[in-house]
């Protein structure tokens, strides 16, 4: 390892330097290059969505609506939601880290359908371009949930264009899921049995199932909304004989499982990181793996818990409440197993592990407040208030984004061939954690004392908590900018990364950093169980490890 750091950088051929030029990127079928294409594009949308968030928080600094117009504010939160959900969170981990790692982790040369993989990026870009065009030429003000009949008969903003953007991006998501499922079934290296799969793969498998089964439903819903808006078909609008609750059922049938598209891959990352930095096999491997699948299955059966005050029958509400508690069980099981994995480990506090700790804390709070919302009588009071906003940001930002950042740090040496600056990374992890809690914890209280969501102006008694939240958002913004800066910095100035800087288990670490175009020089044969840290840390093995490259 030491030689690599000192010697002049005579670079081995790898996926990054094999070809040069724009077309070598835009026409690549290498899953690793496509992953980087996604990385650049989702980062772009993350900062757009983040900018909207910042403007929202600035507007809410004072009770009066004074920074922007009411219509502008409504567009800001709508587009914040649409961009963050459909163009950042859903593709983030699967399309970037999943794309990069699924073939590497199972010992494959690429995904099963490399060209479809490229197609899915192009679909994402087309959808993204449509969304950008929509936002630049007037935008949309329906809320990301675009409830009818407001969206079909009342708004005069560009809901159809925004819907079609999401429709196209949805196909990108479906194709990625399809690719993962086929790859995981068909392209595992010899000896890589299902029970030896890294939990990251299990999580992506569960995610892919949701992407394939759920996404078509939102696509159909968007088409129906567009058809009703254009042709005045009576599907949702009661004035035309339609049913507005039908829309909500269809919308949440996808959009609730979509939360699991965001959080499951993140859970996969957390399993990898916790195993590596406590040098242990994950406690209860099969329970953690199966809990991913059961979350994917139960996740499809709880959609109407978004509708407890919408006018559904009391008995329907009972069923959806009890099923929502059922889906909470596997999530709790995961948290207990991760915590138990630490027991008698040999724990290091590198930046990825700090993000994993952060994830555990924030996801626990997010999950527990989900119990509040699933309790029918209490849901009536807190739904559609800032309590809900806080809850789902704890899951989708505290959970999914913490996992994403942890994963980016963990695999950055593999992706870029460079080490990131460790102390900066630890500092950033701390800033993100503090900023996040300062932003969103006050919103739980704000919700319980009654501030409704999507309010452009509010009664003055809510101001103190809003100021705290805005202050936190500023800190959080700094926390998110830091990694972007030092990751970019490290691409040029970072220490060259050894092949396995963390001495981690997993086939991806047996490739060079960065990997060659076809990942493995010869097909690996797996003879060990997942997370074989005992063997890796055994004294004789430890001396061997550096030579292995």
């Amino acid at each position: 390892m030491a030689t690599a750091a000192v010697a002049p950088p005579v670079e081995r051929e790898n996926y990054l330097n094999k070809h040069y030029g724009v077309w070598s990127w835009l026409l690549t079928t290498d899953h690793k290059r496509i992953s980087l294409l996604y990385l650049v594009s989702i980062t772009f949308f993350f900062f757009i969505g983040g900018l909207f968030a910042l403007l929202i928080r600035l507007e809410l600094l004072t009770p009066a609506g004074d920074l922007v117009q009411a219509d502008t504010y409504n567009k800001l939160f709508t587009q914040h939601g649409m961009v963050m959900v459909f163009f950042f969170l859903i593709p983030s981990i699967p399309a970037v880290l999943g794309n990069f790692l699924v073939p590497l982790m199972i010992g494959a040369k690429d995904l099963a359908f490399p060209r479809i993989n490229l197609l899915s990026w192009y679909l994402y870009i087309i959808g993204g371009a449509m969304m950008l065009h929509c936002m630049l030429t007037g935008g949309v003000d329906t809320g990301w949930t675009f409830y009818v009949p407001f969206s079909t008969a009342f708004t005069n903003t560009k809901i159809v264009e925004a819907g079609l953007a999401i429709f196209v991006a949805g196909f990108s998501s479906i194709l990625t899921g399809l690719n993962f499922i086929v790859t995981i079934h068909r392209m595992r290296a010899p000896g890589m049995t299902w029970s030896r799969l890294p939990l990251f793969i299990w999580a992506h498998y569960a995610t892919s199932i949701i992407q394939i089964l759920g996404t078509p439903v939102i696509a159909i819903t968007i088409v129906l909304v567009a058809a009703e808006r254009a042709l005045h078909l009576g599907i949702f609008d009661p004035k035309l004989g339609g049913d507005p609750l039908l829309f909500q059922h269809l919308f949440w049938f996808y959009s609730h499982p979509a939360v699991y598209i965001m959080i499951l891959p993140s859970m996969g990352i957390i399993s990898e990181i916790i195993a590596c930095f406590s040098r242990k096999r994950i406690f209860g491997y099969s329970f953690v793996a199966l809990s991913s699948i059961s979350i994917a299955v139960f996740g499809f059966l709880v959609w109407a818990h978004h509708m407890f005050v919408a006018g559904i029958s009391v008995y329907a509400a009972l069923i959806f409440s009890i099923l929502s508690y059922a889906v909470a069980v596997p999530s709790a099981v995961k948290v207990f197993n991760w915590t138990a994995t630490l027991y008698k480990g040999s724990i290091r506090y590198d930046a990825p592990m700090l993000y994993a700790f952060g994830f555990l804390g924030l996801f626990t709070v997010g999950g527990l407040t989900g119990l509040f919302l699933a309790a029918l009588g209490l849901n009536v009071h807190v739904t559609d208030t800032y309590f809900v906003i806080a809850h789902f940001h704890y899951i989708m930002v505290g959970g999914a984004v913490m996992g994403y950042l942890g994963g980016m740090h963990f695999w950055w040496p593999k992706i870029s061939g460079r080490m990131y600056p460790e102390s900066w990374a630890r500092l950033a992890a701390l800033i993100v954690f503090i900023g996040f809690n300062l932003t969103f914890f006050p919103q739980f209280i704000l919700g319980y004392v009654g501030m409704p969501r999507r309010y452009y102006q509010y009664p003055p008694e809510f101001q103190v908590l809003n100021v705290l939240s805005t202050a936190g958002a500023t800190v959080l913004g700094v926390g998110y900018l830091l990694p972007m800066i030092y990751f970019l910095w490290s691409m040029r100035y970072g220490k060259p990364a050894p092949d396995n800087p963390w001495n981690a288990a997993g086939l991806e670490w047996k490739t060079p950093s960065p990997p060659t175009t076809f990942n493995f020089e010869q097909e690996p044969v797996v003879t060990w169980e997942a997370y074989n840290y005992e063997e890796l840390d055994a004294p004789q093995h430890r001396q061997e490890a550096p030579v292995a490259r």
């Binding site: 099969s286 329970f287 197993n337 027991y343 119990l371 009588g377």
Partner: protein, 316 residues
Amino acid sequence: MAGNVDALYIFLVILSTLMTGLIFVAIVYFAARYRKQEGVQAEQIDGSTPLELTWTIIPFFVFMVIFLWGAVVYFKEHTPPRDATEVYVVAKQWMWKLEHSEGQREINELHVPVGRDVKLIMTSQDVIHSFFVPAFRMKQDVLPGRYTMAWFRATKPGTYHLFCAEYCGTQHSGMIGDIVVMEPAQYEAWTSGGSTGPLSATGEKVFGELGCSTCHRPDSQGRGPNLQGVFGKPVELADGRTVTADENYVRECILDPGSRRVKGFQPIMPTFQGLVSEEQVNALVAYVKSLSKAAAPATNTAAAASPSNAASGKAR
């Protein structure tokens, strides 16, 4: 109701604090106790089925307790006492129109006496809104094309926020109002001014003006069903089903008479969709209701005079 919701909330806050504390302490303790030391290796533990079962089953039962508790509160929230005073709510972008059954009309303000059960019969003229009074821990979406119901009983005089909680367009955050809870005596003084007579009387007038009374006669000779005493009773339909004649059914019969026609009558009634305002529909519903209360004409006034007691919640 606020007390019930708060009790559940406090229980959940305590439970969550304990759980978060437990996880937090475990993580901090393990992270410190098992920090990497030279020469000390992690001890591999594969897992433990008894432990897995423990932390699957115990949370499950705890969750079931929360579920049941939440369900009980929800049922109470959805069971308005029988003798509750009725207020009709029409929501529109971006205001609340409220009409008491005694006939007072208000905009963005609802005056109620302390201690009285108030049932809200709500509909929207345009998009979905949501009637949210945080102080009463009460919220219900208000939909176009149908009625949704909610109820509350204010226990302390004062002025409370009324918010729209379902995003409804540009002035969503301006669609706010006040619930003014008054001492009964003050309330009596307030009601004595500015009423155009009870809502059911308005409904009776509309009933005549629209010509409903030519077919719906108070005997069995009309071409339409006799509406005396129908409200709240089961009705046999032409397709063999039976429905209860509640507010939503009466509303549907006015606006879409063909869909659930009463057995034994011809489909000759025209739709009144677009011909009557939401306020007129409300008045008609109140009138049809009053036809069933004729037997006990004192109900409304009795409820108004004496603070109703909680036992009536058992009804239905």
